[in-house]
Subunit: 248 residues, 2 copies
């Protein structure tokens, strides 16, 4: 990423520490270098490194204890949203996720299917990626991902790996197509499996499933992708209360 030079120092520090964390350089539970040490390593002030560390705490990767130091909590916080990688979550839990690309279709302007999408996606051709996700061989969810076709030029089946960490749609959109997003809204509702979804997932028609509809936006507010997921099981979240309280 050539643009790292334009990022503030605390942002670069945040990313670098996060990379170290995710690469295993800091193990879960182990104490991280102190604020002073990190400030020295990055050549920045303690105030600036604290901003980066504060973000890591807020994002759930590390915990801090006054007088004791920072420890790694997790390499990937557990929240089951469209912005967290299902692939990574399954791999971390010792399962084997796989993906089957069911279809890759460009929906032209005026296509009937466009009518069901958010309005922002109805003004231009849209790429629809339909995939069946499975865990340890057992189908778990049908995922339809819609992206403005202009953001995924020359997309083909080879762009959608079916094994390993690269099968994550977040990683595909980010690395292969260079897309970035910073916010999303998600809607979860009960869904009675119709014949098509039931056949894909391997449940009987009429089964109760969950439907997750998620719209992700770029910093400038433009829509990056829309995802429609039909899944068995449940989704889980870690939440923090608004109007927080201080540690006793």
């Amino acid at each position: 990423m050539i643009e790292t030079e334009s990022k503030p120092k605390y942002e670069k520090a945040y990313r670098t520490i996060l990379d170290r964390l995710k690469s295993g350089r800091y193990q879960i539970g182990m104490r991280m270098p102190t604020e002073g040490e990190l400030a020295g390593q990055f050549g920045i002030s303690r105030v600036t490194i604290r901003r980066a560390l504060d973000m890591l705490v807020k994002d759930g990767y590390v915990e801090s204890r006054q007088g004791s130091g920072y420890r790694v909590l997790t390499l990937s916080p557990a929240s089951d949203t469209c912005l967290t990688s299902f692939t990574d979550a399954m791999l971390r839990a010792g399962h084997e996720p796989t993906t089957r690309l069911v279809s890759l279709t460009t929906l032209p302007l005026g296509a009937k299917d466009l009518a069901l999408l958010p309005p922002d996606l109805q003004r231009e051709p849209v790429m629809r990626v339909t995939r069946l996700r499975a865990v340890d061989g057992v189908p778990r969810m049908v995922v339809n991902t819609f992206v403005p076709a202009r953001l995924m030029p020359d997309a083909g089946p080879a762009d959608f790996p079916e094994k390993g960490t690269d099968q994550s749609i977040l990683r595909i959109l980010g690395r292969r197509f260079g897309l970035e997003w910073s916010a999303a809204c998600e809607d979860i509702s009960p869904f009675v499996a119709d014949a098509a979804v039931a056949a894909l997932i391997g449940v009987s028609s009429g089964s109760a499933l969950l439907r997750q509809a998620c719209t992700a936006f770029a910093e400038d507010g433009s829509l990056v992708f829309y995802e429609d997921v039909y899944r068995t099981g449940s989704v889980s979240f870690n939440l923090s209360r608004q109007g927080r309280s201080t540690k006793a």
Copy 2:
């Protein structure tokens, strides 16, 4: 709250500004006082007031633009979790929420129903509050709230208002019983309505509903309450991407 003296200055500023915001002193869309003005009003430094404002931004209440100032986005960010008040959301949307207290029961140690609760709630008597929530007269959800009985001494039906803002369980637990919590985990799954829930909500048995199970914790990690919600419709979230990017 007598303990405000022990909170850091940035925390007090955060709460005061949030109170002003929620009380309507700052209207949605209007520009708030500048950092310098607020620092002066609170008698603290610009750095400290920025910490409070930063929290308000992160929590979704205000937005800031360099050179332009801070504006109020919302008086209550829209996310449909057990930590956000359904009552407040409905009132804000111009609907009339009401609540019927179905039962208020103390489950003693060893009670069969305790077996289905989180382990932390199985070690002591638990208060179970069952309520039916409705919007504009239409039943929407059945809510079972479980709290260690010792945290709700002398609880009675009079403690659970059925109209207005005070019907919010978050407000009841907070104000009437002085409970505080700072984190929660929530799990959403599909639920096929059994006869009891179906009768309460007014749907046919076998209907697909959503089940929200939520466990809230205090700062010290102890369990404050557990909530089990069966609801029609959907839940929605606002999410921010982890590993954020800087504004262009």
